[in-house]
């Protein structure tokens, strides 16, 4: 461990215990999912030809966007010079990397022929397909995140190469998540998704879920004891970060409100009915909006409250779950209106994830935890530039100074 950091709660027995639990959950859920897929194939999913993308896609989307969000937060200090964010930069890069790996693992289990993808996508170069670019950009994103992390691991915070890799990583994140938005946003035949500004929505909500993950995992790393944290990290968690978090939750609510209002106003039943008869008709969706975003926003409005650790952790958990629901309802919402009002599908298409689909989601979450705990154990994720660790006041100064 570097001399720059305080002892980390997860490097001891607590970390090992959590690692054991997370590994067991991961192995159990993955084992169940793989056995189901091997014996029953995708009949073990509740998706269908009328609603082909279900919860595994939503899980991938959620993880991929959380990864992009974390990458964008890391760019605050590493690209834009917001020095007070240095204490979370390395952890952000690491979390961005592992949450993307977890998302990709879930996606791999969702595809019909995953290994075929490895040669069929590069050899056929279908550059018209946003999904081709998703492969390119997320591969680059992963590469740059890993490269940047290795620089930070070597203590190269401000070297020229480190800066350049940081900028490349930032651009990679923008391209990857922006393009992921276009996979949905360019589908004019699916009007609920069709939206030129969907990349902006994805960037913004991705950062919100990224901050939620970050806040939770930072506190977990120090055993939910702020006094164990380095001073610079403490001042970030009582200063700039909760303000940013509050603004992000508020902005996310605004985005959802704007989409809901235009959707409800539209005469097009493929948009308006999704809002009236699917989203707002679902108690779970309303609960996720209220408890997952509105209540957290209200909690974060008060300056006293938002700097409290318990409130921050609670809000992080609620927002993390709330945005998971948001991704789920986004993915499913684009498909619930049948393309033709036929005899065979007289109503909105109903979809509830199957046990196998839940197993894949849980496998993704637990893989994320396992990788995180391994990272905390072995990689000194709380590292920061030496001058900041020595003099936290330097970090508290305004950006760019």
């Amino acid at each position: 461990m570097s001399a720059n950091t305080q002892p980390n709660a997860l490097q001891g027995k607590l970390g090992s215990l959590l690692l054991l639990v997370a590994s067991l959950v991961f192995l159990a859920s993955l084992g169940y999912g793989v056995v189901q897929l091997a014996t029953q194939g995708h009949t073990s999913f509740n998706t269908s030809s009328t609603l082909p993308w279900g919860q595994p896609i939503a899980t991938y989307l959620y993880f991929a966007l959380a990864s992009s969000g974390l990458g964008l937060i890391a760019s605050l200090p590493l690209v834009f010079g917001f020095k007070q964010y240095y204490p979370i930069a390395k952890r952000c890069i690491f979390l961005a990397f592992i949450v993307l790996i977890s998302g990709m693992a879930v996606l791999a289990l969702e595809l019909g022929n995953v290994f075929r993808m490895l040669w069929a996508i590069p050899l056929n170069l279908q550059i018209q397909s946003a999904m081709f670019w998703m492969g390119v950009f997320y591969a680059l994103d992963l590469l740059f995140l890993l490269w940047k992390f290795s620089k930070l691991q070597n203590g190269e915070w401000d070297s020229k190469t480190s800066k350049q890799v940081g900028i490349a990583s930032f651009i990679g994140v923008l391209l990857a998540s922006g393009n992921l938005a276009l996979i949905f946003g360019m589908m004019s035949m699916r009007p609920f998704w069709f939206d030129a500004l969907l990349p902006i929505y994805f960037y913004f909500t991705g950062v919100t879920s990224g901050v939620a993950a970050l806040v939770f995992f930072v506190y977990l790393a120090y055993g939910f004891q702020r006094e164990r944290m380095p001073r610079a990290l403490q001042s970030l968690l009582t200063g700039a970060l909760p303000k940013l978090f509050a603004a992000l939750i508020g902005g996310t609510l605004l985005f959802i409100a704007a989409r809901a209002i235009t959707g409800l106003y539209s005469n097009n039943p493929e948009i308006s009915l999704v809002w009236t008869d699917y989203l707002f008709a679902s108690p779970l969706y309303n609960l996720s909006l209220i408890v997952g975003l509105l209540v957290p926003f209200a909690l974060m409005l008060g300056a006293q409250w938002r700097s409290r650790m318990d409130i921050q952790v609670l809000v992080a958990c609620l927002v993390f779950l709330g945005l998971f629901a948001e991704r789920f309802y986004f993915v499913v919402g684009g498909q619930v209106v049948p393309l033709f009002q036929g005899t065979w599908v007289p109503n909105l298409i109903s979809y509830t994830p199957s046990a196998t689909e839940w197993a894949l989601t849980i496998a993704g979450w637990s893989l994320f935890f396992v990788l995180y705990l391994l990272g905390e154990k072995f990689l000194d994720l709380g590292d920061m530039p030496k001058q900041l660790a020595d003099s936290p006041q330097a970090a508290a100064q305004p950006a760019g100074t």
Partner: protein
Amino acid sequence: MAKWGMVIDLDKCTGCQACTTACSMENNTLPGESWQDVLFYHEGEYPSAQMKWLPRPCMQCENPSCVHVCPTRATYKDPDAGGIVFVDWNKCIGCKYCMIACPYGVRFYADEKPLIEPDVREAFPGENGQLWSPPYQNPEEDWRRGIGIQPPGVVSKCTFCYHKVKHAPEGVADLDEDNPAVKEYVPACVRTCAPKARYFGDLDNPESQVNQLIGDKHGVRLKDHTGNRPQVYYLGAGAAVPAFTPADRENDA
């Protein structure tokens, strides 16, 4: 090379679904995997209620959005095969993006819950990489064109019965089941259509019967606003598909 097109006269179609059955037998599709389906609608109220139906094959679009989104070129439009859109089952990764991008809902991922029990796939378990292997099968299997019974984890769709159409003589204007010289090359749904509501021919040939019908009887294309430009045209009343309304609110308007 011809550009194969289909014309469906809704004034003659009786909604008997013989096309659906013929397609399913010809192409060994599973229950629910209806490459050629007939959709039924009703609008209005007694005594002026109307019942409509619409046969729906793959539109083999001129500008197919499913082809644009496929990340592996597994789904492709073959100009050398009359512009038919195929799925190469050796390349399909089962991402199902084409099913999202198709405005017509004519693509199928058969690796899903069975429509009816018992599951016919369990009665005839798959052999040689097939999803299921019934005792009778179309002998002209061609996985590069999505013809035959698919392997698990790929998307399937109507091929305009290319395994039949490809044997048609070069330069033929129409494949008419009443013409003994070409009847064996006519797609199954067209050949079986009892009221002769379906026509199949070369859209690039101005003399073809399909082009004359489109011109004389005001042929329209379904969901033309999507820009996909189907190679399937509809004649007569009933091609206007009513917008979706939930079942419990059908009579509200």
